[in-house]
C-alpha cells in the first residue's frame, strides 16, 4: 500500500519500523487504536543493525519487563534464539542477566510477521518528511509524496536515520544503516518545530565469512545446557525452537594494538571528522587501545549472525578505520589470519532529540500528541528502544483515544522506568545504555519478579487481555502461597525429621521453619521438595509439587533474599514517600519564598512530575527541593485540615 492510497485517518502513526517502532505500533494497536507503521522500506522491519543478540545484564531484565507488559521482543527472541545464556549465573537473582544469540534474519521476519498479522495495525512504505501541527497540537504526518496522514498522535522512532552519516576511514555517506538512505527532512522539520537536537555516534564491528575463520585457534563459548526463555508465552511452544550453536572467543594482541595506534590518524574519531559523542561503555577498539594503553589484550567474541548465513560478527572490534587497515587488524588476531571481511566496521553519526524536552510518557512537552522513542532519544540497544516504544506507543494510544490516563513506570518499579526517568530528567550526552547500577532499587527489579511487578499495570491499561494476566498472576499467587506454607511449617529436631534430613545430607540441631531451612546455603530445594511436601497439608503439597523448575528456583531465591528485600522496601517507603510526592502541573515555583531564580528557571523548564525528579535535575540544589517539599507538605496539611 502506498501512502497516497490511504484514505482513512489513523489514531496513531508510528514513524520507523525498528525495535522501538514495532513495539510502539503493536502496543497502540493492542489498545484498539487504528495504527499505521510508516517505514521507508517494509522489508527492513525489526532489523538487528548491530550485534546478533538480545538481552544481557540489565537488558535481559528489560526484555522480561517488555514481556510482562505484553510486548513482543521476548517471544520473538525465544523463537529465533540460537544460543541462550544466563550471565552472572553464579550471582543473586537481581543481577543475573538473560541473553541470547539470535538468527538475525529470522528475528526480523518473525517480528515483521507479527506486525503484519496484528489487528488495527497497517504497515506502509513511505518516508515521513514533516509533522503537521495545528494550534500547538500534532494533527498529522506529511510523507515524501506530499500527502498528509491525519492522526491523533504520532511516535517518532527514527533510530539512527535522522541525518545519518556513515564513516569508514575518510569515506562518508549519508545513510542510516549500511545501504539504507538517511532521513534528512525529518530532522529539519523537528528543528523548525523548535526542538533542540544533538549529534551522537555509534559503531559496529566488521563481519567476516565463517568459512574463512580458524576455530581451532579460538576458545569455544557455549550456551547454558538448559536454556531459559525470555517470555512466559514460550511455555506453550517448543523451546528452543531452533538448533543451538556455539560462539568463539579470541583476543587482540600487542601487534594488533600497534597497528591500531599507527592507524589512528586515519580514524575519523581521532581526526575530528566525527563530532558526535560515542558511548563510553561500548568503546571502539581505537578508544580501548588509547584509553587502556596498558592492557595487553582485549577480548573478541566471534558470534554467528544466524543458522543459514555465513556471516560472523566480531563483538568487541567496532571501529571506523579505513577498510584496508581493518583487514590488517582483523588478520592480526589469532584465528582470523585468513578472515574474509564481508562488511567493514563503520561508525554512524545521527541526530537525536534532547530527551529533556519530553515528559515521562515520552510525549513532547511542547507539542502534545508527538511522541519519541528509541535511539532518537539518545539511547543505544534494541532492548532500550523496544521498551521506550512500548511506553510511547501505549501513551500515544491513550492520547489518541482522548483518555486522561497516563502509563508511567516508576524507578522502583521497572528498569524501563529508570531509563525513561533518567532520559527525561537528566538527558544524556552519550548513547544511553541500561546498566544495573542505574537502578538504585536493583534488588527489587530482578527478571523473575517482572510479572508480579508489571503485569497488573499492563492489564489495567489494556496491554494484556485480562484472562492472560489472570493466568500469569495465578502463577505468582501460587508461589506466594507455597512461600507462606514454608514460613508456617516448623521443624523440630525429632528423630524422624533428623533421619530424613541426614539422608539428604542436612544436619539439624535447632527448631527451624521450612523457609529457614531453604535459606541455608547447603540446602538444595530441588532435593528436599518431595520430603517437604510430606510435611505440608495436601493442597499445599500439591501446589509445591506443581511448581515448574524455574518457579521452584524462585522459591529458593525469594526466601533467601526476603530479609534484604524487606529492608529495601522499607527504604523506599521512607525515602519515596517524599520522593514520589506529585508536583501538580503548573505549580507556581515563582511564588515560592526563598527559591532562587536559577532554580525556578530550571524547574519551570523541566516541569518535574515528582519531587524525586526535581531532585535529580542537574543544577537544582537539594535545598531548593527541600523548599518545594516543605511547601507541598504544608499545603497538604492545610488541605487535609480543611
Amino acid at each position: 500500500m502506498r501512502a497516497s492510497e490511504m484514505t482513512g485517518d489513523f489514531d496513531v502513526v508510528v514513524i520507523g519500523g525498528g525495535h522501538a517502532g514495532c513495539e510502539a505500533a503493536l502496543a497502540a494497536s493492542r489498545l484498539g487504536r487504528a495504527t499505521l507503521l510508516l517505514t521507508s522500506d517494509p522489508g527492513t522491519i525489526a532489523r538487528m543493525s548491530c550485534n546478533p543478540a538480545i538481552g544481557g545484564l540489565a537488558k535481559g531484565q528489560a526484555v522480561r519487563e517488555i514481556d510482562a507488559l505484553g510486548g513482543w521482543m521476548g517471544l520473538v527472541a525465544d523463537r529465533t534464539g540460537i544460543q541462550f545464556k544466563v550471565l552472572n549465573a553464579s550471582r543473586g537473582p537481581a543481577v543475573r542477566g538473560l541473553r541470547c544469540q539470535s538468527d538475525k534474519a529470522l528475528y526480523s521476519s518473525e517480528m515483521a510477521r507479527i506486525v503484519g498479522a496484528a489487528d488495527h495495525l497497517r504497515v506502509a512504505g513511505a518516508n515521513a518528511v514533516g509533522l503537521v501541527v495545528e494550534r500547538g497540537r500534532l494533527v498529522g504526518v506529511r510523507t515524501g509524496d506530499g500527502s498528509v496522514i491525519s492522526c491523533g498522535a504520532a511516535v517518532v522512532a527514527g533510530g539512527t536515520f535522522l541525518r545519518g552519516l556513515i564513516h569508514v576511514g575518510d569515506r562518508r555517506r549519508e545513510a542510516g544503516r549500511w545501504e539504507e538512505p538517511a532521513a534528512q527532512a525529518l530532522s529539519t522539520a523537528l528543528v523548525e518545530l523548535g526542538f533542540r537536537l544533538a549529534r551522537m555516534k555509534t559503531g559496529t564491528p566488521p563481519r567476516v565469512a565463517s568459512a574463512s575463520v580458524d576455530r581451532a585457534a579460538m576458545a569455544r563459548a557455549c550456551g547454558d545446557p538448559t536454556p531459559t526463555p525470555f517470555s512466559f508465552r514460550s511455555r506453550g511452544e517448543r523451546f528452543p525452537a531452533l538448533r543451538q550453536v556455539d560462539c568463539w572467543v579470541t583476543y587482540t594482541t600487542r601487534g594488533v594494538h600497534e597497528l591500531i595506534r599507527e592507524a589512528l590518524p586515519l580514524s575519523p574519531l581521532y581526526s575530528g571528522r566525527i563530532v558526535g559523542r560515542g558511548p563510553r561503555y561500548c568503546p571502539s577498539i581505537e578508544d580501548k587501545v588509547v584509553r587502556f594503553a596498558d592492557r595487553e589484550r582485549h577480548q573478541i567474541f566471534v558470534e554467528p549472525e544466524g543458522l543459514s548465513t555465513d556471516w560472523l560478527y566480531l563483538n568487541g572490534l567496532s571501529m571506523s578505520l579505513p577498510e584496508e587497515k581493518q583487514r590488517e587488524i582483523v588478520r592480526g588476531i589469532p584465528g582470523l589470519e585468513r578472515a574474509v571481511i564481508l562488511r567493514p566496521a563503520y561508525a554512524v553519526e545521527y541526530d537525536v532529540i534532547r530527551a529533556e524536552q519530553l515528559r515521562v510518557t515520552l510525549e513532547s512537552r511542547d507539542v502534545p500528541g508527538l511522541f519519541f522513542a528509541g535511539q532518537v532519544n539518545g539511547t543505544s540497544g534494541y532492548e532500550e528502544a523496544a521498551g521506550q516504544g512500548l511506553v510511547a506507543g501505549t501513551n500515544a494510544a491513550l492520547v489518541a483515544a482522548g483518555r486522561e490516563q497516563e502509563f508511567v513506570l516508576g524507578r522502583e518499579e521497572a528498569y524501563l522506568g529508570v531509563m525513561i526517568d533518567d532520559l527525561v530528567t537528566l538527558g544524556t550526552d552519550e548513547p544511553y545504555r541500561l546498566l544495573s547500577s542505574r537502578a538504585e532499587h536493583r534488588l527489587l527489579l530482578g527478571a523473575d519478579s517482572a510479572y508480579a511487578r508489571l503485569t497488573p499495570r499492563a492489564a489495567a491499561v489494556g496491554l494484556i487481555p485480562p484472562r492472560e494476566a489472570d493466568r500469569l498472576l495465578e502463577r505468582e499467587a501460587r508461589l506466594e502461597r507455597v512461600k507462606e506454607s514454608f514460613r508456617g511449617t516448623r521443624l523440630t529436631p525429632g528423630k524422624r525429621t533428623q533421619e530424613a534430613l541426614e539422608a539428604l545430607g542436612i544436619p539439624l540441631v535447632e527448631q527451624i521453619s521450612l523457609a529457614g531451612l531453604v535459606r541455608r546455603p547447603e540446602v538444595v530445594v530441588e532435593e528436599i521438595r518431595e520430603w517437604a511436601a510430606g510435611l505440608l497439608s495436601p493442597p499445599e503439597a500439591g501446589e509445591l509439587l506443581l511448581l515448574d523448575p524455574g518457579t521452584l528456583a524462585r522459591l529458593r531465591d525469594e526466601l533467601r533474599y526476603e530479609g534484604v528485600l524487606r529492608r529495601e522496601r522499607e527504604i523506599i517507603d521512607r525515602v519515596s514517600r517524599a520522593e514520589s510526592k506529585r508536583i501538580p502541573d503548573g505549580f507556581a515555583y515563582r511564588g515560592l519564598p526563598g527559591l532562587s531564580l536559577e532554580a525556578v528557571e530550571k524547574l519551570e523548564r523541566h516541569r518535574p512530575r515528582t519531587l524525586g525528579q526535581a531532585s535529580r535535575i542537574p543544577g537544582v540544589p537539594a535545598s531548593a527541593v527541600t523548599l518545594v517539599l516543605a511547601h507541598l507538605v504544608s499545603r497538604g496539611k492545610r488541605t487535609a485540615g480543611g
Binding site: L57, A58, L87, N88, R91, G92, A94, V95, Y281, Q299, L435, S436, S437, E440, R442, L443, V564, R567, E568, I571, R574, V575, R577, A578, E579, A588, R590, G591, L592, P593, G594, L595, S596, L597, A599, V600, L611, S615, P621, A622, S623, A624, V625, T626, L627, L629, A630, H631, V633, S634, R635, R638, T639, G641, G642
Partner: protein, 447 residues
Amino acid sequence: MGRLVPDAAGLGDVIVAPATPPGTSALAVVRFSGPHGTTLPVVRRLAPDLPDGLLPREARLTEVVDARGALLDRAILLFFEGPRSSTGEDVVEIHCHGSPAVVRAVIDAAVAAGARPARKGEFTRRALGNGKLDLVEAEGVALLCSSESRARAGRAIGMASGLLSRQVGEIRSAVLDLLAETEAALDFPDDVPIAAPERRTEEILGLLSRLLAGRLVQTGERIPTVAIVGRPNAGKSSLFNALLGADRAIVTAEPGTTRDVIGETAEIRGEALRLYDTAGIRPARSEAERLGVEAAERAAESADLVLEVIDGAVDGGGPEPEGPRADRGSRRIVVESKRDLWGDRRPAREGALAVSVVSGDGLGDLRDEIERALSGVETEGEVALLERHRRALLETDLAVREAAGRSEPELAAADLRRALTALGEITGETATEELLDRIFAGFCLGK
C-alpha cells in the same frame, strides 16, 4: 482551608529586618536582602547621598533619612552583591546607632521605601533556597545564634561554616568510590575484577568514627549542672561566689547561712554551666533548714557534677557529711577549702583539691578539673552533632560494615546505597518526611 497558591510576593521583593537583638546597644544592624538589582534602589531612598558606583564590601558612612527627607541617623552602610552574600541575593547592612527608636525609624523608612518586613527565618530560608547554606549549615546558624558559651558557639560554627558538611561530603565521596568499584564489577564482569574493598572500608569507618566522636548538642541544650555540697560552714558559698566571679551568695562565719538552693549560670573555660550553692548538710534545726537540706540533696542527686567541699580549717576536713549520700552516681570532685589557713600540709582527704578563695590558690586547677569532668573525651577540631546527624552517621557506619561482610556484591551495593541515603539525610539531599519534621520545627518554612 488555606490558600492553595503561595503568595506571589514571595519572590522578587526586598525584605528588611533588624539583625541585632532588641534593646539598647552601641550599634544595631538593619539588614536588607532582595534579588539582584532590587535592593540598592530601595536603600537609595533611605540613603540618597550614596554614590552611583557603590563598591561591594566597601564600608561607607552615609546619612539615613526617612520618606520626608528628615535625618534619622548617620550610619555605616555595607553592600554585598549577590551571589557573594549571606543569602545569595543583594544584601545591604546598615550599621546604625543601637537605640530601639533609631532601629524602628530605619525599618519604618525602609518599608516606606518599598521593602517588606521579613518573616521569621526568611533570611535563612533565602540562603537555603539559593544554595548558600545546606541544611546542616542552617542548623548550625540556628545553634550559633542560641549559643550561651564560647565553647558551644565554637562547635556550632563547625556546623554553620560547613565543616560538618564538608566532612560528610568526604565520607560520601569515599562511599561513592567504593560503590563505583562494586557496581563496575557487576555491570562489566568481563572487564572489571571485583575490587578488594578492605582499605576503602577502613578509610570510611575511620572518617565516621572521627565524626562520631563529636559532641552531641541540641538546640535549647540543657547545660550541665554542678552542685556544691558539704557540711555547714565548709566554704561552699565562698567557692560559689569565686567560681561565679561575683558575690551572689551571702557569706557569713555562721554555719547554716544558706538555707535554700541558689542557682546561677557560670562560664568555666568557655563552657556554660549551671552552678548551685546548697544548704550545708546536717541534722536540721528548723523546718526552714530541713527544707533547705532536702533541696540540697535533690540538687546533688540531679547534678552532672558534685563539688564536695570539706573544711580544711577543721582537723582532717571534719567528719563525712551525715545523712543519705544522695549524690551517688554523679561525678564528684572533693575540694578542701580555706587553704590559706592550713598552709602546705597534704590534703586531709586522698585526691582532694586544696583551694583558697582568699588567695585564689588552686582555683585554676579546680576550673580545669570541672571542665575535664564535664567534657568527657576531648578531640581536636571536633564538630558538634545534632541527634539526627548522629543517627544518620550510625546508620551509615552500620551499612558500611554490613557491606564489608557481604559475599554478594549486589547486596553490598544495596548497603552502600543505604549509606549514601543516610548521609544525604544529613545535608538534605535525601528528602524524607522525618527531615521535613525537622525543617518545620527549625525554620518555620511553608507556614
